[in-house]
């Protein structure tokens, strides 16, 4: 029976990938971009051939290792050079400016108006309140960040303190 061998292989690959992900940094899951996700998929996908002994352990180690090394190098260059960062992550695009959608930006991001409405709804903003948004930015990964118009910024403790001061 080769069952024990499969078990050992499973364990070895598990430990190897665990070590690789720890070495390559937290970012692979946190703030995961699409590409980080695909890298994780590739790494996970390399395992099964090794488990069934269709490839050797060393070949698996070489394959997964080269993927992770590439990933580490890419992230390092993106951190060092702005141009590389721009290519990999793109530049945040202003989809919404002072309540009006920017059609050119939407087209560049391949987002329809329905998609924009969807992104804003997820942040609790219905169409009649779009004008409260000074800037709606498509950050990396489809997430929308918003800078609100001055009067629509959330009130803070500082504001409460001022009001208290005035009432005194």
């Amino acid at each position: 029976m080769d069952l024990w061998r499969i078990a050992v292989r499973a364990l070895v690959s598990y430990v190897y990938l665990l070590a690789m992900t720890r070495v390559s940094g937290k970012r692979i899951v946190h703030q995961a971009t699409t590409f980080d996700f695909v890298v994780a998929l590739i790494a996970g996908d390399l395992i099964d051939d090794m488990l069934w002994a269709e490839v050797s352990t060393t070949k698996f180690a070489a394959a997964a290792g080269s993927i992770f090394v590439c990933d580490a190098i890419t992230k390092l260059t993106a951190f060092r050079w702005k141009a590389v960062h721009r290519f990999l992550c793109g530049v945040p695009a202003a989809l919404l400016r002072d309540g009006r959608e920017d059609r050119d930006a939407l087209r560049r991001e391949q987002l329809s108006e329905a998609d924009l409405a969807h992104l804003l709804r997820l942040r609790g903003i219905e169409e009649e309140k779009w004008k409260d948004v000074h800037l709606g930015l498509a950050e990396r990964d489809d997430e929308l960040s918003m800078i609100f118009a001055p009067q629509a910024e959330s009130a803070t403790r500082a504001d409460a303190a001022r009001v208290k001061e005035l009432l005194r």
């Binding site: 695909v38 997820l122 942040r123 609790g124 990964d141």
Partner: protein
């Protein structure tokens, strides 16, 4: 495919520790890994932000497909040309459907579905819930996750095409804004605190 028993390495798992490793093949594997990495990097980037992220189940599936294709390429089970054809065709098909659904509302609805109302004016929408197979408990859980304690706060809750639930609150239930504190003076009040370090300023969009 060589079954384990037919392999000449006695302990398949630990062949790394044994002499007679095929360094050339290992080098080739690493090189193919590098190539695949570079190709995928470019493909995902060209596909744009919509490839996966917060979008639909199918977007996720495409990412899975692309990820699943490549192991045979890296291990050299298929030729690089064959692998590249598969990657390019999947990516192209994805690009075309994304473009089509961007162009046509009808196609967008067919390909991605449309949002379903779960709560309207503080009342559960049983029809929408049934359609999405969301029980009362599921809806309440989703609302709790959005910080809703009282159903009356909810003007609309919608199951979006990507499975996320968006909540629009009644006007009275929204958090306080500067205008609620300062009224028409709100703009002036925020200008007074000019010391701010604007997080969006670096983008040059102000």
């Amino acid at each position: 495919m060589v079954p384990i028993a037919a392999r000449d390495v006695p302990f398949g798992t630990f062949d790394a520790l044994l002499p007679g490793m095929d360094w050339q093949e290992l080098g080739m594997t690493a090189a193919r890994g590098l190539l695949v990495y570079a190709v995928m990097l470019v493909v995902i980037r060209l596909l744009g932000k919509r490839t996966v992220g917060n979008f639909t189940a199918f977007d996720l599936l495409v990412a899975l497909m692309l990820g699943e294709v490549v192991d045979e390429i890296i291990y050299g089970d298929v030729s690089i040309a064959q692998g590249l054809v598969a990657i390019v065709v999947i990516a192209l098909a994805k690009y075309i459907t994304a473009w089509l659904s961007y162009r046509s509302h009808t196609l967008n609805r067919i390909l991605e579905g449309s949002p379903t109302a779960l709560v309207r004016d503080g009342e559960l929408d049983r029809k929408g819930m049934h359609h999405e197979l969301m029980s009362e408990l599921d809806v309440f859980a989703a609302l709790r996750l959005q910080g809703v304690a009282d159903m009356r706060e909810v003007k609309n809750a919608v199951m979006e095409v990507d499975g996320q639930i968006s909540v629009i609150r009644e006007n009275w239930a929204e958090p306080i804004q500067k205008r609620d504190v300062y009224g028409d003076e709100a703009k002036k009040a925020s200008k007074e605190q000019e010391q701010r370090t604007d997080t969006a300023e670096a983008l040059g969009m102000k």
